[in-house]
Amino acid sequence: MSVEAQQGIAAPRVPAGLSGLLPALILIGLFFVVPVLALLLRSVTDPAPGLQNYAALLGDGTYARVFFNTFLVAFVVTIVTVLVAFPVAWMLAIMPPALASILFGIIILSMWTNLLTRTYAWMVLLQRTGVINRALIGAGIIDQPLPLINNLTGVTIGMVYIMLPFMILPLVGTLRAIDPMTLRAAALCGASPLAAFRRILLPLSLPGIAAGGLMVFVMSLGYFVTPALLGGTSNMMLAEMIAQMIQSLLNWGLGSAAAFILLVVTMALYALQLRLVGARRAVGGA
């Protein structure tokens, strides 16, 4: 969220006393705090009190690999999403508002389409006998089907597609708030387009990239459907492993512990990012 956007919000109306906040607090407590505490408790009490679930998770190479895979996928997806989203967001930010709102509508529409449907569509496109491979083989470009599915490539393609709107939306907000005159000024001072991008546009859009990137990264960490369908077992992500622990092994203690570790790591990353962005913003404002 940019500084400008924050200032644009109308002055908050503070309710008299806490009573106005009570429904919201109860809601958050009941549906967010209690379940997380229950999760934590279960992870240290099931099947017996103690930290054995955490010891099992942290001491086993398999789980370590799944954790690594989870962060690797989330990282790759975030980077690719930023790279794809930036030009789109820039185009949306500078094009006439009427046209931009139509394109916005199209992007939002994809978010409203069922996730499973979209993932299955990618399966049909990406598989060895799928549309893409058949077309490439038919055109004589390749003679063996490319491995586009059941691996990191498949997961990345499918997830970037799903994550794009979450990156584009905050980025457009940030880019629109940048005064176009700064770029013109840079050009007048003799900066090449590349230099203007690197030294003016990119630094100014960092808050939007950071906000969208964090959202995409955190959402990717917990993704289940897309990696399960487009990935292979050797890129298994944590959500799928937790599902196995809960549904197949009925080992709820271990599943809870895995979920809690993911939560803690995610929150730590969030805190780190807040610090970094806060620091950068302070420098940029000086």
Partner: protein
């Protein structure tokens, strides 16, 4: 603590009230549950007046949550037999009331104190005729990537089947499969690991074979039956077909136990079993059912392929379920 957590879950899942004239049946969805609804639930409702609400898919985590929370909304659940044996040991199941469910004609391989057979099936070797030149005749062929190149598809979840296939392919005689030599099985599976595409549901296995995405694979015989019926160009080998079963269980604390037992009697009756087998291609667990079925359907059942048939050992699996599963998923993730 367990109770609070499970209670929240079960509370959210609660769908049906306990009423004497209705009950909830849960199965795996898709064509199987459709066939169960048509063959069992609808005639049962017509004759008894008890309404059968359908829920699904079966989810062992959900089932355990309900029982832990003492808020059980499922009355009859279709589960895999090795799970049922393990669940009975863990005290999750009601005993079957054999005063209400006639036992005499039930295949003893697939029924015990806490479960009656739902249907039984065989894992068979199926292939796409366009993608495989020649016939694949044995499980060993699935491990011969030189002679038979292409992707092969296996069942993704830890369950009886794939481990046994690997051992048979490696030359272990059928009567020496148990206790399972896991080291040997995983070593054999390692040799084709990069050529395996996993299927996690029946529809997926059909799609993989029918499209040629996988050249061949280990499929449930009912799914191959459906592919053949649809005219797909598939071949099937019953050589060393591996039987396993689904069973019907009543979760501990089910609210409509009496109705559930009556439903089980109808589902396992010769007529109920015959109708379901005809619709699904899976085999009946009532020995009298075949007399009520058309001869050409009987011919396609696992019963017609007992030569070289191997019964997967459900008791062994029930006992070692967790240990094998832990290793299975660790190996997959490697």
């Amino acid at each position: 603590m367990k109770l609070i957590f499970a209670g929240i879950l079960a509370g959210l899942m609660a769908t049906a009230a306990a009423r004497a004239d209705e009950m909830v049946f849960t199965s795996w969805g898709g064509t199987t549950q459709e066939a169960q609804t048509k063959s069992w639930a609808e005639p049962f409702t017509a004759s008894s007046g008890i309404k059968v609400l359908q829920d699904g898919p079966t989810d062992y985590g959900k089932l355990k949550a309900m029982i832990d929370a003492k808020n059980v909304t499922w009355d009859v659940v279709d589960v895999e037999m090795d799970f049922a044996i393990k669940a009975a040991k863990d005290g999750l199941l009601e005993p079957i009331d054999f005063a209400a469910v006639p036992k005499a004609d039930l295949d003893p391989r697939f029924s015990n104190e806490n479960a009656v057979g739902s249907f039984y099936y065989s894992f068979v070797l199926a292939w796409n005729k366009g993608a495989v030149s020649g016939e694949t005749a044995s499980w060993a062929d699935m491990f011969d990537t030189k002679k038979f190149p292409g992707k092969r598809t296996f069942y993704k979840w830890s369950a009886p089947g794939v481990i046994e296939i690997a051992l048979l392919a490696d030359g272990v005689p059928a009567d020496k499969l148990y206790p399972l030599d896991l080291d040997r099985a995983f070593k054999k599976l390692d040799t084709i690991k990069s050529d395996i595409v996993w299927w996690s549901g029946g529809a997926e296995s059909q799609q993989l074979i029918a499209s040629g995405e996988a050249a061949f694979g280990q499929l449930w015989n009912g799914r191959v039956f459906a592919l053949e019926k649809d005219g797909a160009d598939v071949g099937v080998s019953w050589n060393q077909n591996l039987t396993a079963a689904d069973v019907l269980v009543v979760p501990k604390g089910a609210k409509n136990k009496d109705a559930a037992m009556k439903f089980l009697a109808a589902a396992t009756s010769p007529t109920g079993q015959a109708k379901f087998a005809e619709a699904s291609g899976y085999a009946p667990i009532n020995t009298k059912a075949k007399a009520e079925m058309p001869a050409d359907v009987v011919k396609g059942l696992p019963d017609a392929h007992v030569d070289g048939q191997i019964n997967l050992d459900m008791n062994y699996w029930a006992e070692h379920r967790d240990e094998i599963a832990t290793r299975w998923y660790a190996w997959q993730a490697k």
